[in-house]
Amino acid sequence: MARYAVLIFEKVPPEQLPPEVMRGHMELPDRIAERGGRVLAGLALEPEATATSIRGDVLTDGPFIETKEALGGIYLLEARDLDHALALAGMTPIVDGGVEVRPLIDFAVLEAP
């Protein structure tokens, strides 16, 4: 199986997501499993206001890249190929934004020793 990172970009901050969208996120791994894929891990990020960036030796308050849609979370997806991955990632509940699907190098997940 191939593995991809799915990056979720969302304009609506996490604390304002409607309950049905939150529920959609909770149910996503099961729905993906029903369609022959697998969610290996998920990272839900605190809002951008809590981010600290380091550029050289300068610290700044906020995300590294300012975008209209903030990076809200990432999950690790296992799928047969890109078409399968795109079909599965397309089920991610989104209010205003979208997702980016990125293959992992050698489709491998690197784990801490």
């Binding site: 191939a2 991809y4 190929d81 890109l82 078409d83 293959p103 491998a108």
Partner: protein, 390 residues
Amino acid sequence: MLAATVRVTRDLDLAEEAVQDAYERALRTWPRDGVPDRPAAWLVTVAKRTALNLLRRRRTLEAKLPLLVERGGEEDEEGDALFPDDRLRLIFICCHPALGREAQVALTLRLVCGVVTPDVAQAFLVSEPTMAARLTRAKKKIAAARIPFAVPAAEELPARLDAALAVIHLLYATGHTAPSGESLVRDELTGRALGLARMLVALLPREREAAGLLALLLVHEARRRSRTDAEGRFLRLADQDRSAWDQALIAQADALIVGALEAGPPGRFVLQAAIAALHAQAPSYDATDWPQILALYGELLRVWPSPVVALNRAVALAEVDGPAAGLAAVEALEEDGRLAGYRYLHSTKADLLQRLDRPAEAAAAYREALELAGNAAEQEFLGERLRALT
């Protein structure tokens, strides 16, 4: 052949290498041992074997090479029978929507048609290193993201087929109206595009849009030689020599269109073909069935809302309801803004203004069109129209 080899290797670069190798071997051994009974099958078998060997060698080098071989159940000796599906898979991988349009077109020319990279570069007016880099980037994405080498599932087929048809259409258009340079027509590209369209119709006989694209290209092809005069200058539809149009091609197109229309509601390619065929079958510009063309453009705008279609509809409207109605539609489009850089918007407006006897405004519009015109033939045409006014 490349298609059949890719299925085994799942790696485009490797497959290209293996195919080249098979040809070289044929050049060495055929003169000595005679040509085999089924040369194509021989080449495929040799290429597949070479690919597998290369792959094994690579594997020992890179233990973690992502999987690539499809095993088992290969009817190797039935090579010929496997060809059609593999070609189809190759087209769909080259025209995958995860690749940019430029990459899709370049890959299709390089891998499906076998055009060498310097020629692909020339067709799109970029340097060879630029094109080579574009191809490499695309092939790398296919491998790294694992874009599947497969014919799309039935529910995805319409959208994926549409992308493939758009690529072929663009290929033809690039050859038809070369964006710059001396010659208006590049036979090589138009011929390749026609070949691809024929192939898709043969491989997917039930897909009406594929038939529509082929019909559209056939009508373009039938009229191609009359688009310019003896000196290579661009001629308007009204001024073209209709007796020079290839009636046999037009009849072929017509049969395809009728068949597609009978089979179900038309998509954008069938509608475009039907419009082009109506033009091609009219005895003269004035005797064209404009009301029917206007109705078809209305339908086309519904299935494919695009400002370019709306502009063409405005031209038909001018023929049915007069130039003032056409101009109003063009001006509405101008306000919309999306066609500001589109030369045909300005030349259409100029033509309508001229017909309404407003020469100063017409001249201004011609000047705007002239600024945007790409190739020498078009520039000369527009320049002449402008001189006639002033």
